[in-house]
Symmetry: C2
Subunit: 321 residues, 2 copies
């Protein structure tokens, strides 16, 4: 069963709790309190599926696992506050390495004043880290995937494909430009919490974090909002020396590479200049990469490349493959 | 690293979030909202460590995994509301079996009007279910382990040792009295949510759920409250046909067996009769099993048996061993 079928299969037909605002089906669930919305999600990170010990030190394993979870909270326009960690530890990992995993999480958590409030450990055959993150959002200001509307601007933060480029460099040793930058993008990607904390100033923003590749994330927003998108290939933000890699790899990584933990979003054309100003003021690279439309009565993602229009496949990132 | 050392090693020196009331160190963490306290904890359940496929059907695996988590919330005097499930699925489990695992969780969750609000799945080598439960408590009415005081009554709900008796029957086939009852206690134990929902009527109750055996749970309350306890062997509540098992097994299961998910608690002698009346009114078996004292300036758990006083070892339940 793939992730999509799985989520569909476990989704309840209806919810019972009156405080629940959003159940399964976005980057995180949302329940309401008198003065804020509380946002929570879980994500799991398994050795040899999500990471390899030869491309990540234990410190990076912890850092990277928590990044993925915090990124889900940022993608709701919320601020992370707490995390709980369940860890399965095989005999091939010593206590000092596990300490380093927690040091990696702790280092990233400290940047966002997050507290570790629950933990559980069992022995098992492969290192498995499952993290639940809980965050706060201003009441009613969540950036749902269903918020996209006809005519919206599509934007992305940062540059795309860099995490996969870093993994490629680590597994294909050679002489590369900016090797350290790409490796860091793979081992210690930064969740976009800071930028996300400004979204509540806007009336309507749809956001997905780019964990599985922009192709997949764009398709999710389109499906939930019942709109289509057209992305402009030449506008997709890439790093300065990204062109050093094979064109096929560039294409694969930037559209389907995943794990960059940048944000893909939509906002009304009216609000776009103001959002761009916010990004500039906090030194976040923000790029307009396409637009939302509904004329086709579909929910497709198109790619405009060399003057032609293609359907962008929905395939997401498949880990370490 | 054992669970105790692990928890100690990951516990933060200080917390940063102003809404946090209790971090790591009780059955669940607590953070405050304007009109309620929110309680959360994580627990993990691994094949061949916490359960065996020959003594539990997939439905029971799900039911039992969620029981453990809900029980932690009940042990805070809180009511469960939401759960998130991370599951690692090996190729030896088919889709229909995984559906049954979720059906088991869903059946129990429905009894308490809980909603599944987050999920994550990955493939891996052994079935691992990690559940985070979130619940609500009345503001300021949490039943912390540190609430026990000199002179308190020590009580237990239900009967103890039955889950281990059920596991024994399943793995040592033979002719037993009430076999179905014991097997059900192992496969589908009930968390004590209903009784726990009355604790807020009392000014001070200390509670631990009996997941690791009463010896261990009593020791945790003593350590956190800086008190000692004496338990009366003949008062420990056991089921009608418990005496059919070897005396050594009876002793082992009722003190160190764990997984009964009954509650062990303390309450002032003044409030005890009122608590007993509540239990009677909702048909919960509630037994006074000992008392809290501080004369020894220690935090020990003693067992009075056949007129003699022994130190009860702190050893907890070791899964499937």
């Amino acid at each position: 069963m793939d992730e999509f079928s799985f989520i569909k299969s476990i989704k309840q037909q209806f919810y019972r709790q009156s405080t629940l605002v959003k159940g399964i089906g976005d980057d995180a669930a949302v329940f309401r309190q008198p003065f804020s919305d509380i946002v929570t999600s879980v994500d799991t990170f398994v050795e040899n599926i999500h990471f390899r010990k030869d491309t990540m030190k234990p410190f990076h394993v912890g850092y990277r696992a928590l990044t993925a979870n915090i990124s889900d909270i940022a993608a709701m326009g919320a601020t992370p506050a707490f995390y709980l960690v369940s860890i399965v530890i095989p005999t091939t990992w010593c206590d000092a390495e596990i300490d380093d995993v927690f040091r990696g999480m702790h280092t990233l958590a400290s940047n966002y004043k997050m507290d570790l409030i629950g933990g559980d450990t069992v022995s098992g055959s492969e290192l498995t880290i499952s993290i639940t993150v809980i965050g706060y959002a201003r009441k009613g200001s969540i950036c749902y995937r269903h918020n996209a509307r006809d005519g919206d601007i599509v934007f992305a933060t940062g540059t795309l494909g860099d995490s996969q480029a870093g993994y490629y460099i680590l597994t294909n040793p050679g002489d590369y430009m900016d090797a350290d930058y790409y490796i860091r993008s793979h081992q210690m990607p930064e969740p976009q919490v800071n930028f996300a904390s400004y979204f509540h100033h806007f009336s309507r923003v749809a956001i997905n974090d780019i964990s599985d590749g922009i192709g997949n994330e764009a398709a999710e927003i389109c499906a939930e909002s019942n709109v289509s998108m057209i992305l402009e290939d030449e506008q997709i933000p890439i790093s300065d020396n990204y062109h050093q890699f094979l064109p096929e790899l560039q294409y694969k990584w930037k559209y389907f590479g995943g794990e960059d933990f940048q944000l893909l979003g939509t906002i009304s054309a009216n609000d776009w200049p103001k959002l761009k100003k916010v990004a500039d003021s906090i030194h976040i690279r923000l790029t307009r990469i396409g637009r939302v439309f509904t004329e086709d009565n579909q929910h497709n993602v198109y790619l405009k490349k060399n003057g032609r229009k293609y359907l962008l496949p929905k395939k997401g990132y498949t880990h370490l493959k």
